[in-house]
Structures are given as structure tokens and as C-alpha cells.
Symmetry: C2
């Protein structure tokens, strides 16, 4: 029941990256559940990770290893998050890196481990002993699509994006995959996102971009407000295309950044479109705010309100619930008379009260669409922030009441 | 489907208070929907009100009138919140007070108006012209039970509490009613609560108590995290019993305060037990926090997490979701190794990881109960806060997807 979701089919390989995918039965049998990325020497990688204090063992190790060196291998399993697993979980994540190092001949610090799935279960290490060599056996640059499926949990569809562009006369590729469908209010990055280009990008620029791009994409989506323990997003630059970015302000850098932003936003929005139980894809835009925090506070309060979300599900333009959510979002010295609210181009609130021209029919027509925008003008400043979110449906309750059974 | 809810039957009248209840058809026909309280001269009244910036017109007027004088009449309608109704809504609330003043012979400033129901609809003033005289006609000290029903919206059961106690040899009564089932995360008080005693309490003590009591009851419940535009809670002291409280630290004051706290908490918990779609009544206790804010942040984050709430609904002790919610609640410099989490007396998290002795069976047995406690020890200080909340069920989605239709 994903919302206007087109499965991406035409992946371009990224020079310098090969991917192995296998069925390790780490949790479920007969599905791809383990993915190994091999990155050529010289590849730079930047990452952003969850801010959840209970971050998973693999996240802790990723952060440590990324500070030490550029990774040569990424090992990803689905089905088990290796979070809330204590010292043994940490030892298992270390052992995973050692296993990849033994199999491939790199050092353990050159391996980044990623886990996604249920929290609090011990990791099945036998699955890694089976899966890592098997994934290494079938490394192939053309495996992006299979990898997108191999990292899914409650996702119903694989999420990918790929584009070839010409910058300074050099053909450059951007390809990425992501996953996530619940426990989604990324606070640094989404559950998992891997975006790669074959351009060469200076490491300091790459890290700065990764943060900026995540802030404009994965950090602007929310399904249920629950920040995961395992959110991780990597931006990888192999440097094989011949395009070199060493000045973030050069025209080539601006063009590449813009294309990367398109990739990040497409992958982030794909997560919302395939959100657990989603029947609507809703853009919440807050403008004329005094600060970014204020704009985001209002946008998140509206996006997380169970009453607004159930009204979306019901296609009932119950705008009083939007108003109430804006009112409780914590703005100080709030002059309500300056507030305007629109559903697409239908104005519902004018100067803090019900708009004279508003009709239930006009509001209902917008809410009946599968995609629409709630635009809230605060009349306080010039800051705008945009979030993407979904409704709260029976299907969401069913999925999360049944997830572990 | 209220949770372990016993309808209160044996109301004691409060000397100095008479109540009229009528069917005004303000929104729906054939139900009690308008309640008029008459308070004897000499009665002191204290109130706390919603902090939602979009507070309803009647709330604005209540606050103004309470600053001017003690009220002689309260007029309450259900079915329409008179919120988000702009200048006309304000004029309607003023007109309501004037109507009561004309009917009863008091001044408009001696009237407090309360509205609850749908947001953003114009108030039906014809209903008040019919209802106010009719309610005035049937004023009676014994009408508490009917009043409890007359203020209900999506509540399935009326909420009341009554107790007679002997303080300093004087028989004193405490009686109260409340309502609310959705848009419940009171931020000052619940949707509507009216608690009265026939003791005489100094006005400054009464206001201080009202705030303290609301903080220990209505401000510690949450159903969906949506703070209403109309939350109001009144504490009324008629002074007719012969008991006089003029020192908040006297033994009599301590005894009365303690009894009032019991009344406030019973009425607040009744709202949770009858919460929209509630199948569980859950106490979330956060202890060993550094500050009240920190304890409440953790408690609210756990209580509002859709994933924790759906796990409650499913009777699935998915403790990883509790852990993830604690982790994202915003605590700085959080030493996870000191965190302990219990479901009733079953320890699930020990020193930040899964407790060795924990079994799925033991956790599932607690979650299968209709009432249980999630106790979270942060290991950081000595502050404890307790919230009461419910699960997130299909019924909640159904109620709120259908509410206006």
C-alpha cells in the first residue's frame, strides 16, 4: 500500500564498487538478508549516524572505524539490529568485522558493520560465518538492485536511485539505496542509506556534504516519530570517473551537490511513500518562522499528532486538529492573528481563524488526494522548513501489533 | 472498552452548589449537553487552563473573569469547543455569559463559560437561548451524576468522584467530575474537570493547591500527546461545611489537600481508563532522574511512542521499543550502563542491556495484563515522575478517523 511509489529499475553501476548479496538466514530463511560492499582503494566515505543514546553496537564501531581510516568493506544484515544487546552485542559486531577482514584480506578497521531489524536479540554469528564468504563469492558491480531488496525489513518495496550526469565533460554516476518503514524519525540519517558516486571528492567536503544532504532529506522525514537505534547513512566517493572535487564552491561541486541532493531526497521520500501503513504522502511546510528550531518544532508537532494523522487517513480535513497542534508546539509570544494555513492552495486559516472563503468541500477534496501539502505561515520571520510524512492507519497498528509474531 | 473502569454512583452534594442539566441540542439531539453550576455567594474558585497558544474563546474569558471576581455561575456545553472560531467565537462566548447573567441576575463577569467538542465550528447560540433558562429551571444540589454525563464528548462513561471526610470534627465533602477521551495531554489541566468542596479555603491557598493538584493528576496523564485548546480545571470551595483553611501547613489543610489529591488523581485516571480506544491502563514511572524535566521527557517519550503503544495493544513485551524511546528522549551525557527497566517486578533491562534472567514469557505475562507499570531507573539522580497512559489500538484509529462524520 505504498503511496505513488515507482520501483526504481535502471541502476547504473558505480565504478570502484562491487556488491555481494546472499541468503544467510540470519533471521528468516529464503530471502536475501546479507549484503557486502567492496570499495576500491582510494575511495572516501563519509557517514552520519543516529543520535539515539541507545545506539546499536555496529553504529558505535562504524563511528570509530570511520575516524581511523577509509573503509574497504561494508557488511549489512537485515532481520536483527544488534541493538540493546550489551557487551556480547559489541563483541559480535567486532567479530563480524574480523570475519570480513579474514575473508577479504583487509584489516578489521577497514570494515563497517550495519545491522537492522528487531532490537534486543542476540546476533546469529553462524549466519555470518555462512554469509560473508558467500557474499564475497558473488561480488558484482551490477548488484545494486538486489542489494536494495537485501537490506529491507518491513519495507514492502526496494528503494533505489541512480543517475548519470555530465560535469565538466566527465560522465559521473550517482547511485544509492535506502531502507526503512517504521521507527522513522531519523536524527542524523535514516535507518540505512548508502549513496555512492564515482567522482573524487575531498574527504572534508564529503563529510560536510553528507551532513548537509542528510539534513535536507533523511533528517526531514518522519513516519512515527520514533528515532531508531541504528540509523546510518553513508556517502561514498570512489574517484573513478575522473571528476575531482576539491573546492566545494566550484561550479562542478555545485552541480554534483545538487544532483546528490536529488538522490538523497528521492531515497528519503521513498521511505515515507513506503512507510508502515501509509495511505498518504504529505508535505508539511512551515514558513515565516523566526528560527529553524521553531519551524521544525511546528512541523514535527503537526506531523506527529495522532489526531492530524488519523484525519489524513480518514480524508477528513479536520483543520481544527492542525490548529491545535500548531498551538501546542511551544512557540513563545505567539501572535495568532498572523497565522495562515493552506491545504495545497485552499486557505483554511486566515489571520488565526477560520478563513471566510473556506468550505468543507474544498478541504475534503484536498485531503482525499493521495499527496498534498499542509502549508503553515507563522508570520514571525523568514525561515522555512519542510518535512515529509504519512498518515496513521489501521494498517500501521496491525503491522506494529504483529511485527514480532 | 474502558479499562477496569468503575462508574461512580454515590455522589454527595456539596453545600452551596446547585447544578442544572438540560438538552439544548447544541450539536446532537436527545442528550444532556448543557450544564449550569450555581455557586453560593462567598464561594472561592481557582482554575488552571490549557497552555495551547490557540486556546479557545471561553478559556480566554474564564481567565479574565477569574482575575476580576469569584464566579457565581459556570455554563458548560459539549459538542462544540468554540475554538479556532475567531472574533465571532469570542463574541459568542461573551454573549453566553450575558445570557446567563440576564437569566440569573448576576453580572456577566461572575459567569465562567466552558465549551468542549469539535474545533472550528460556529457556536449555535439558539441552543443557549433555549438551554440556559431550562438549566436554570432545574438547579438541584443532587445533579452531579447527570452533570458528569452532560459534559461527555467521545467519553464512553461518566467520570466522577465523591468523598465525605471528617477534619477537625467537621464533616466536609469533596465531589468532582471530569471528561476527556482524546486530544489528551493536558498542559495545565484536563479537558474539563470540576472539583468542589464545602470547606472554606483562602483564595491564595486555593489557587496554589489547584496548580499543585493538577500537576499531580491531570498534568500527568496522556492519551495521544495532543494538548487540547480547551483544557480547564476548576477547584471550588464553598465554605459551607464550617471547616476553614487559612494556613496551608495546618494539619487540617494537609488532610484536606491529601483528600483532594485523591479526588484529582481518581478523576484524571478515569480519563485514561476511558481513553479513546484504550485496552490498557499503563503507569510509566521514571526514577533516579537528575531533574523533573528529564524524568518527564523520558516518561512522555515512552508514553507517546506509537511503537511502544502498539506493542502494549498487542500484549507484546517488545522492550527494544521502550529502550529506543528512552534513548531518543534527549538526555545529555547519558551513561547507559546505569539504566534499569522493569515491567512490574520483571526486570527487562539490567545496566543498559537485556537482563540475564529475563524471559519472553515473563515479559509477555505482564503485557497481557490490563494494567501494569513500566518502571525506568535512569541512575542519574533522585527525581521521580509518574505518568498514566494507554495503548494505541485499532479502535483509536477508528474513533478518530470517524469522529466528525
Amino acid at each position: 500500500m505504498a503511496v505513488n511509489f515507482e520501483v526504481f529499475e535502471s541502476f547504473c553501476a558505480v565504478q570502484g564498487i562491487r556488491i555481494g548479496v546472499t541468503q544467510s538466514a540470519v533471521r528468516y530463511a529464503n530471502r536475501d538478508d546479507m549484503v557486502l560492499f567492496e570499495l576500491d582503494e582510494g575511495t572516501h566515505t563519509a557517514g552520519v549516524f543516529t543520535l539515539n543514546a541507545f545506539c546499536a553496537a555496529p553504529v558505535t564501531i562504524c563511528k570509530t572505524h570511520l575516524q581511523q581510516t577509509d573503509p574497504r568493506y561494508l557488511i549489512i544484515n537485515t532481520g536483527n539490529a544488534n541493538a540493546g544487546t550489551g557487551p556480547q552485542g559489541y563483541r559480535n559486531a567486532v567479530a563480524t568485522c574480523e570475519l570480513v577482514a579474514e575473508t577479504t584480506g583487509c584489516s578489521p578497521a577497514e570494515v563497517l558493520p550495519f545491522s537492522t531489524g528487531v532490537i534486543g536479540e542476540p546476533l546469529n554469528m553462524d549466519a555470518f560465518r555462512r554469509g560473508v564468504p558467500a557474499a564475497y563469492e558473488n561480488l558484482d558491480g551490477a548488484n545494486w538492485k538486489r542489494a536494495a531488496s537485501g537490506i529491507m525489513t518491513t519495507d514492502t518495496l526496494p528503494k533505489g536511485y541512480s543517475q548519470q550526469l555530465n560535469i565538466d565533460g566527465v560522465s559521473t554516476t550517482i547511485t544509492g539505496i535506502s531502507k526503512g518503514a517504521g521507527m522513522i524519525m531519523p536524527n542524523m540519517a535514516t535507518m540505512l542509506g548508502f549513496i555512492a558516486t564515482d567522482a573524487a571528492v575531498d574527504k572534508s567536503i564529503l563529510q560536510q556534504w553528507c551532513k548537509q544532504l542528510a539534513d535536507a532529506s533523511f533528517n526531514r522525514i518522519t513516519i512515527d516519530g520514533d528515532t531508531s537505534t541504528n540509523d546510518s547513512c553513508l556517502l561514498i566517493a570512489t574517484g573513478k570517473s575522473g571528476l575531482t572535487i576539491s573546492d566545494a564552491n566550484s561550479p562542478a561541486a555545485v552541480q554534483l551537490f545538487s544532483a546528490l541532493k536529488q538522490a538523497f531526497q528521492a531515497l528519503a521520500q521513498a521511505i515515507v511513500r513506503d512507510g508502515e501503513g501509509a495511505t498518504k504522502f504529505v508535505t508539511v511546510e512551515v514558513s515565516a518562522a523566526q528560527s529553524q528550531k521553531e519551524a521544525l518544532d511546528v512541523a514535527y508537532t503537526v506531523s506527529h499528532s495522532p489526531l492530524v494523522k488519523t484525519a489524513m487517513f480518514a480524508s477528513d480535513a479536520n483543520w481544527g486538529r492542525i490548529l491545535a497542534a500548531v498551538g501546542r508546539s511551544g512557540i513563545q509570544n505567539f501572535d495568532l492573528d498572523k497565522v495562515q494555513i493552506y491545504l495545497n492552495d485552499v486557505q483554511i486559516v486566515e489571520n488565526g481563524g477560520r478563513c471566510e472563503s473556506y468550505t468543507e468541500e474544498a478541504g475534503a477534496a484536498v485531503f482525499a488526494e493521495s499527496e498534498f501539502t499542509i502549508a503553515i505561515q507563522l508570520g514571525r520571520g523568514d525561515v522555512t522548513e519542510t518535512l515529509w510524512t504519512t498518515d496513521l492507519s489501521h494498517e500501521y497498528v496491525s503491522i506494529n501489533a504483529d511485527y514480532r509474531s
